[in-house]
Symmetry: C2
């Protein structure tokens, strides 16, 4: 019998229980008291190292993630010696909250790892978390940290604002493109350039790879003097049996990690902690405004506005001061 208590589940998850871990993640997705209890325990752990992958559907993120999992478990890691002992993967598809086709495909592609005790793969869904996936994913990352995962991949499907926001909360953010990427990513190119630490041109056996690299280089040239110039890595990973370039991608991740280690990490952590706190503040306030905007006191202010006996600023202040 799996307990329902978050503290007991955390103990079990630390001992290796995947069922307990899965339940904690369901708590996180669901919002409500269990989410709060889980967060209170999970945020006591330091964050793991997080690698975000984002890109248009079909760009090949899952196959790349699949290969990166293997490399993380095999190759010298950030300390230059030991590989990672276990790796977590969160798959996020904001456009399909209940885990539709793409995520199912991902799971099948990653199935070799699904039975590997060193790997834990989870498709995230929103089931009521007050901040949706943009808060549930950071919570889930801390839950994995609590269960002693030192490395977590976060794969987001799509290149919209939310996908990019989720992916860019990672330590190292990889934007996966293909030759001719311009068409699929035009709408949010600036956003992607902003967040990318590494660009992958996947399916680099297709025509147009040279032009795509040149386009990327030109955009990076225009991007000004950032300290870290995003690396561009070409890979061929249309399916798991035919992979080239993923070792170079792993090396690029390690290089970016080394760069971060040499930089002002404390400032960076503080800035990201602020962003995380502001997001929760904003979500709580939104919920609060939603609650204010109904009920008798609210309708009374609407009546007063219709009568011309108040103005919207006085009405809003009255509601806020009464709450």
């Amino acid at each position: 019998m799996i307990p329902r208590d978050a503290a007991e589940l955390v103990d079990l998850a630390r001992g290796g229980s995947r069922t307990a871990l899965a339940r904690l993640l369901t708590y996180v997705e669901s919002g409500g008291p269990e989410q709060r209890a889980t967060a209170a325990l999970a945020y006591a752990s330091a964050p793991p190292y997080v690698v975000g992958l984002t890109g248009a559907p079909g760009a090949g993120k899952s196959t790349l993630t699949d290969r990166l999992i293997s490399l993380a478990l095999q190759k010298a890691s950030f300390d230059g010696v030991d590989p990672f002992e276990q790796v977590g993967v969160l798959c996020v598809d904001p456009s399909s909250p209940f885990s539709g086709g793409a995520i199912l495909g991902d799971r099948i592609r990653m199935q070799d790892h699904a039975t590997n005790v060193h790997v834990f793969i989870r498709s995230m869904a929103t089931r009521g978390h007050l901040g949706g996936l943009s808060l549930a994913v950071p919570d889930a990352i801390r839950v994995l940290a609590t269960a002693q995962f030192p490395l977590v991949f976060v794969e987001t499907v799509g290149v919209g604002q939310m996908e990019v926001e989720i992916a860019s909360a990672a330590d190292t953010t990889i934007v996966v493109t293909n030759p001719g990427w311009g068409d699929s990513m035009q709408a949010n190119k600036a956003g992607l350039l902003e967040v990318a630490d590494i660009f992958v041109i996947n399916k680099a056996d297709r025509p147009g790879v040279r032009e795509t690299r040149r386009d990327l280089e030109q955009m990076l040239d225009l991007g000004g003097a950032h300290q870290w110039r995003p690396l561009i890595v070409e890979t061929i990973a249309s399916d798991a049996s035919d992979v080239s370039g993923t070792e170079a991608l792993w090396d690029a991740i390690v290089a970016h990690r080394r760069y971060l280690d040499a930089g002002p990490r404390d400032d960076d952590r503080r800035a990201r902690t602020r962003v995380a706190l502001d997001k929760v503040l904003a979500a709580m306030v939104r919920a609060h405004v939603g609650a204010l905007a109904k009920g008798a006191a609210y309708e009374a202010q609407v009546d007063a506005l219709l009568d011309g006996t108040t103005d919207p600023y006085c009405a809003a202040e009255t509601l806020l001061s009464e709450s």
Copy 2:
């Protein structure tokens, strides 16, 4: 000497002082205590009838507005008898807060009216209003109502979310297109379809007008069973001396007004009052969160998060309860 007191300015504006009216509108744009004092007086007046015009830059909104002003001052109005005695125009260009080229051009185009005592034209700018133009424009509309303008045109330049939001707060919303409009408006076509009461195909002497009308009709057919099917009016108004179809546009505005009069106006006014109040509530809460997200108490919570002694939810609750 023009007074600084909002109540005195309102008295002067009602007596016809354009200088007093202009100062009240500056108060509205600026935010701060003067804005609040102005709003408290202005929202005592019933709203005027508001006609919103939106469309891509260069679509010909200003020339159309220019013609509509003349018609409003000449032709039988909503009562079927008297023309309007005075007409207000607010020009809004969210992309150029300090009134750049487009608005200057508008003013030149409308210059015949600028010296007409029955017409008041103002380019709106944000100068600190807590809700930006999306709150300053509704405030300005009420200021014009207080100064006894029964009809206000609100012209927004552009078809982004904010422009459409501002324009759609009107009683009658006109979306100005041109032959081949698809290209310029593709990104927000659904939003424009949602808000339009009247579509104008301006520059209807250019090729492609038939295809544009057909596209619009098809989209309206797909739009489902709204009570009011948006009218489509063709105009040729590339400059003020060569105008055709604008009388039909005026008739369309009158027809839409008659439709509204016959409908459940109270429900509609209540729904719009709620939207206006919710906007102010949200803006105040955003300002409140902005204030929370600095200062010693906030930094103490960030420290606690970095130490792992709290989680973002507890930290946010602490900040909200202390405020």
